[in-house]
């Protein structure tokens, strides 16, 4: 594994290795060792051509806890906003000796373009590309689900997860469907038909348009953000109607299984896809997802960069 571009790059065993490594890293960095020397002297560039709070600081925190040098650069305030091409940016990073690039880009496929050409030799980590994939988010979600509901199992066999909301624009949903099903979970997508992508019937999931009938049957419910910045047409009649039919409110929280957890990748539109009391309820693991994200990203960076700089599998 040289890059992490898509969940499809990972075998089931590799995904589990990332989760296990993250669990061990969480334990040692919560306890005795805050900082590890493992990536000392390595340079990691955070290339964020699209806004992000959680993912960028999470990757930055992960890299710093492993003693890597971190260079942040975002579209605003860099030559990207002057129209520099991805190729020129990549060659600049190569010239500066970047060992890895963590890239967030509004164009689906941008990380693949970075990895597939010979523009740079470092590892490429997809931190969200357009409406395509967000693998590190899916890994931290799987980690969170396994930690709460896995009962010591390595995978997620038999667990039922609902992903609710704007599936159409959601890279989080795509990566999660791939990963959760790879790990044996059963995924139900709940959304208005206008917010389901073309070809969704070929995905290994169940589709439902009725949130209330799905709620009592799941172990974890993942609410997605309505991505207004990607919506250039009208997908539902009104925000109020959307939140009435597809929002998570107090009554729906009460209808969940006693052990079910509430997840959201953030940032939340409180009052739209999730009410404040649902987001802040005892079932919610939304804040914990953020801290788990740091451990999972440490595991990804360690497994991609910790070893010899050669291509080949991780063992």
């Amino acid at each position: 594994m040289k890059h992490l571009l898509s969940i499809n790059d990972l075998s089931r065993d590799e995904a589990i290795l990332i989760l296990d490594t993250a669990a061990e890293l969480a334990r040692i960095s919560d306890g005795p060792m805050k900082k590890l020397p493992t990536l000392r002297g390595r340079t990691i560039v955070n290339l964020f051509a699209e806004d992000s709070t959680r993912t960028r600081i999470s990757f930055e925190a992960a890299a710093k806890r492993l003693s890597a040098d971190v260079i942040n650069f975002s579209a605003k305030g860099s030559s990207l906003s002057k129209g520099e091409s991805l190729k020129d940016t990549a060659q600049t990073l190569q010239a500066m000796g970047a060992d890895a690039v963590v890239i967030r880009h509004p164009a689906s496929g941008a990380p693949f373009r970075l990895a597939d050409n010979q523009w740079m030799s470092g590892a490429v980590i997809n931190a969200g590309d357009g409406t395509h994939e967000h693998p590190s988010q899916a890994l931290l979600d799987a980690y969170t689900i396994r930690k709460h509901l896995g009962k010591g199992a390595k995978d997620l066999a038999g667990l039922r997860v609902a992903i609710v909301g704007d599936i159409l624009h959601s890279r989080v949903a795509r990566s999660n469907v791939l990963l959760l099903t790879k790990l044996g979970a059963h995924v139900t997508l709940v959304a208005p038909p206008t917010l389901l992508p073309f070809g969704v019937d070929s995905w290994p999931v169940t589709i439902s348009y009725d949130l209330d009938s799905v709620i009592p049957q799941v172990d974890a419910i993942m609410m997605l953000r309505i991505q207004q910045e990607r919506m250039h047409e009208i997908f539902f009649p009104s925000a109020r109607e959307y939140s009435r039919y597809f929002g998570l409110n107090r009554d729906r929280v009460n209808a969940l299984n006693p052990n079910a957890i509430i997840m959201h990748p953030g940032p939340m539109n409180r009052g739209l896809e999730i009410t404040a009391d649902a987001a802040d309820s005892a079932r919610s693991v939304i804040v914990e997802q953020v801290s788990n994200g740091v451990s999972v990203r440490m595991a990804i960076l360690y497994l991609l960069l910790g070893g010899a700089p050669i291509e080949g599998g991780i063992n």
Binding site: M33, P37, I314
Partner: protein, 178 residues
């Protein structure tokens, strides 16, 4: 392949090391045993059991993974991490005894010392190993040794323990094929 340390010798070595540790530190109260996974951790547990049998009471025992502190990380593909379990008393002000199965180049122990330094400042650190096979690459020596086995650099020493391998024995084999 030939057996250099059969099961009864391993048991005797463990009991002797337990006595030596107790003698050096004048009792078990201030000692923390930290085994280096996988086999060092099992040996630490056994030495702890031997100490408890001699002294009564419970000697502190844990594990210390050295993977993230190794100096040869860059030369091989990344390894899965093994558990680090530090006893609740921590290492501050304790006499820490590191436990490993084989002492060879000394690089694992250097990594363990670095890892330990991140956790705290023990009063002292010593080293117990089941087998010292020589060929040190660093100025490190063991304080408690089960058996010194002179080897050539290419020979392969394999420690088998019941907990992992189903049998207790130390074998030596000609190098070249692994």
């Amino acid at each position: 392949m030939k057996t250099v340390l059969p099961a009864p010798d391993i048991s005797r070595a463990i009991v002797r090391i337990a006595h030596e540790i107790l003698e050096r530190y004048d009792g078990a109260d201030s000692i923390t045993l930290l085994g280096i996974p996988t086999r060092g951790a099992h040996l630490a547990t056994r030495i702890a059991a031997a100490i408890n049998a001699i002294e009564g009471g419970q000697v502190a025992v844990g594990t210390l993974d050295t993977t993230m502190h190794r100096d040869d990380l860059r030369t091989r593909s990344p390894k899965a991490l093994l558990p680090t379990l530090i006893p609740t008393a921590g290492v501050e002000g304790r006499h820490v005894v590191l436990v490993d199965d084989v002492l060879f180049s000394g690089r694992t122990i250097r990594a363990a010392l670095d890892a330990l330094g991140e956790i705290g400042r023990p009063t002292s650190v010593s080293l117990a190993v089941l087998v010292d096979r020589g060929h040190r690459e660093l100025p490190i020596k063991a304080d408690f040794v089960g058996k010194n086995i002179p080897t050539s650099r290419t020979e392969i020493i394999k420690v088998n323990l019941v907990e992992v391998d189903g049998t207790d024995e130390v074998t030596i084999a000609e190098g070249g094929s692994k």
